[in-house]
């Protein structure tokens, strides 16, 4: 029996990941929003992202230095070079740190080429904030499925590759923090469609095989509403029969055709997603708690959607 999702906000470091475009940033922002609203001092950090976390929080572009976007809610954007600089300042007290700027290109090169360097600087910074208890909760808008395992496994990878040096001396406490299920969890966001469902199941398998990091929850986002109960569905069938449509037209005019077609579309779209929901549920086999978030029929997506999704998560968590 897996644990329930209810303790989600009691962890202190959550990595929110999922296939591209499923709603990672939306969900990370909403979890942060919810936690902050409940009085937890919360940091939301965007990693390797398209810079739209700011949009979901209704603020201007984010920097490495966190800003308080609303009471208790802080937001930052990861910058591995800045992270390195901060790390060196804290650990080496190297006077030449100031001169790292001009060699940014070179740094970028090494970071790209040497496996794990960028990742460790990212994970290291986040884990550091948790270790120092600078926040009650750190929520990470993490990279998409394809890259997140590499990121989460980076302390272990570095441990294997780098035998000496300062980085090496740092990985032990990070690994300890990341593998403590009371502290750290991965939140996998998905939508009820074929490829995201498949990727989610594969990701969870990989996380379990390649890391010791706990999957805190799978969040199924953009769930279309089930508009009719069974008896209602039967009545709807009567409505949309040609005899039924004729009756409706008599009172409402010909435009009722479009309205009924719209409802029919809603039913069919919902139905086409059901098999994926089932496959997901069966694939997870009760090991990982599931949360469901509704598709939002909103004009735009921004801070308003974030607060609505935060409420929806709150409902799911029983708050």
């Amino acid at each position: 029996m897996g644990r329930s999702a209810l303790g989600l906000l009691e962890r202190r470091l959550l990595f929110v990941t999922g296939k591209g475009g499923v709603g990672k940033t939306s969900v990370a922002a909403s979890i942060g929003w919810l936690a902050a609203t409940r009085g937890q001092r919360t940091l939301v950090c965007e990693v390797d992202a398209k810079g739209n976390l700011a949009d979901f929080l209704g603020v201007g572009p984010l920097q490495f230095d966190p800003v308080e976007v609303r009471p208790n809610l802080f937001a930052m954007a990861m910058d591995t070079e800045a992270s390195l600089r901060e790390y060196l300042r804290l650990n080496l007290r190297v006077p030449l740190v100031a001169r790292l700027g001009p060699v940014a290109r070179t740094f970028d090169f090494v970071a790209n080429a040497a496996p794990g360097v960028k990742e460790i600087l990212t994970v290291g910074k986040l884990a550091y904030e948790v270790r120092e208890r600078n926040y009650d909760l750190v929520v990470v808008d993490a990279p998409a499925t394809g890259h997140v395992v590499g990121q989460l496994a980076s302390p272990v990878a570095i441990n294997d590759l780098v035998k000496v040096g300062l980085v090496r001396s740092q990985t032990d406490w990070m690994i300890e923090l990341l593998t403590d299920a009371d502290v750290t969890g991965v939140v996998v966001v998905t939508i009820p469609e074929e490829m995201p469902t498949t990727e989610t199941l594969e990701l969870i398998e990989r996380l379990q095989a390649e890391t010791d990091i706990d999957v805190a929850s799978v969040v199924v986002n953009r769930v279309l509403p089930e508009i009719f109960s069974r008896p209602e569905a039967a009545v709807f069938e009567q409505l949309r029969s040609s005899a039924g449509i004729d009756v409706l037209r008599g009172e409402l005019g010909p435009a009722v055709d479009e309205v009924v077609a719209g409802a029919d579309l809603a039913v069919r779209l919902r139905r086409s997603r059901v098999a994926h929901l089932t496959r997901l549920r069966e694939g997870l086999g009760g090991d990982v708690p599931l949360l469901y978030l509704p598709f939002l029929f909103h004009r735009a997506h921004g801070v308003r959607a974030t607060s609505v999704l935060a409420d929806a998560i709150g409902d799911e968590l029983g708050y």
Partner: protein, 385 residues
């Protein structure tokens, strides 16, 4: 003058590249276009896919990974009720194997080749640096096109964070191999020690990562460097092919905010580089009937007056007294209004796509996924004429 579909494009070009941000339907569109071209034209068509959904892959008969080109059997077309005029071939991109092939091809001798393939950093690095998927995808395309085996090659592009990445991949690869740091790394370690102190970065790097690790990296790159000329030359050839008159791009997008923004950016970029954009394909678009104004009024009435209307309709509809008519009428109205909000947002998004190419094709949101040849042909048919 624009034609009304992809028929002319597929008859005139040799390479069709399907691009767009992740999840919008690049793979599906690439496979549909290729299948339809094979059905309609007397041509040998190959689709080079990157990450097909499992069921799509098995429908096409490419369940096993590997760089093998497989023909989709005639029988599969016939099952879908089509008598194909040409042939459809499918290949899936296997990044790891493609890299190994590249090394085999460009390594100066067997010893270097084996040393690279055996290097523990090799796998790790090829999987990460310089968008290696993008590079090998373009490399494979070049290879296949140059072989002359196919009349038309339709390529799917990898799910990159940024649709431009793969375009720049060949150049970036060339840059990478001519980087000053790479040269520095591969100068013998001894001579490096001399001025190590004067180079703050390396001092720091040494202290952080440890000398041994830097050494490992250096050794790996020394080996890789031997392939420099081959890589750079190839990168140039790939860039030429992408910009050439035989190649056209399809930009695929949904009408959601983020993909549409990316599509717009990409269209501008392609135009700036004078690449040929064959069409903008708007995928998974909601039907236009959701925008009907008189229907809005009806839907509002249904939601507001559901109770009264259910009294009016109950007996003419033959709905029993105990059956939930009122809630159904209210829901019917509400779902129309809900989806209308989304459809309006899509319409607005479409209007904002200012730099639209001559040819803009729309594919509706189909029910369920497209994972049979029949489904592909159906979707392709909507794009064809």
């Amino acid at each position: 003058m624009a034609t009304s579909g992809l028929e002319q494009l597929c008859s005139a070009k040799e390479v069709v590249v399907s691009t767009g941000s992740g999840g919008v339907g690049k793979t599906t569109v690439a496979a549909s276009v290729a299948a339809t071209a094979a059905a309609q034209l007397d041509a040998k068509v190959l689709v080079l896919t990157v990450d097909p959904a499992k069921r799509l892959a098995s429908a096409l008969g490419v369940q096993e990974f590997g760089n093998v080109e497989t023909q989709v059997e005639r029988a599969a077309f016939e099952q879908a009720g089509v008598d194909p005029a040409g042939e459809l071939w499918v290949a899936m991109l296997d990044t790891k194997q493609s890299w190994d092939d590249l090394v085999r091809q460009h390594a100066p001798d067997a010893a270097t080749r084996d040393a690279i393939l055996a290097n523990p950093l090799y796998q790790n690095i090829t999987g990460r640096f310089v968008q290696s998927h993008d590079y090998v995808a373009m490399e494979r395309l070049y290879e296949i096109h140059a072989s002359g085996r196919y009349d038309l090659v339709v390529v799917d592009t990898p799910p990159t964070r940024n649709a431009v990445d793969f375009l720049d991949a060949p150049d970036r690869m060339a840059d990478f191999f001519s980087s000053p740091l790479l040269r520095w790394l591969i100068t013998p370690y001894r001579s490096r020690l001399v001025n190590l102190a004067s180079k703050p970065f390396y001092t720091v790097a040494d202290r952080i990562l440890g000398t041994q690790f830097l050494e490992d990296i250096a050794e790996f790159f020394i080996l890789f460097q031997t392939m420099y000329d081959g890589f750079v030359e190839r990168a140039r050839a790939v860039t030429t092919l992408l910009g050439g008159p035989q190649t056209t791009f399809l930009v695929v997008s949904t009408l959601e905010v983020a993909p549409a923004r990316e599509a717009e950016f990409f269209l501008d970029l392609l135009a700036g580089r004078r690449y040929h954009v064959g069409a903008l394909v708007l995928n998974r678009v909601l039907p236009e009937f959701l925008l009907d104004r008189s229907a809005t009024a009806v839907a509002r009435r249904l939601t507001h007056d559901a109770a009264d209307l259910s009294e009016v309709f109950r007996s003419p509809l033959g709905v029993g007294d105990d059956e939930p008519l009122e809630s159904v009428l209210g829901q019917v109205g509400q779902s129309y209004l809900d989806y209308q909000v989304v459809a309006r947002r899509e319409a607005e998004q479409r209007a904002e796509l200012s730099s639209t190419p001559d040819l803009c094709l729309t594919v509706p949101a189909l029910e369920g996924d497209i994972h049979s040849l029949g489904g592909l042909l159906d979707l392709g048919g909507r794009l064809w004429t």
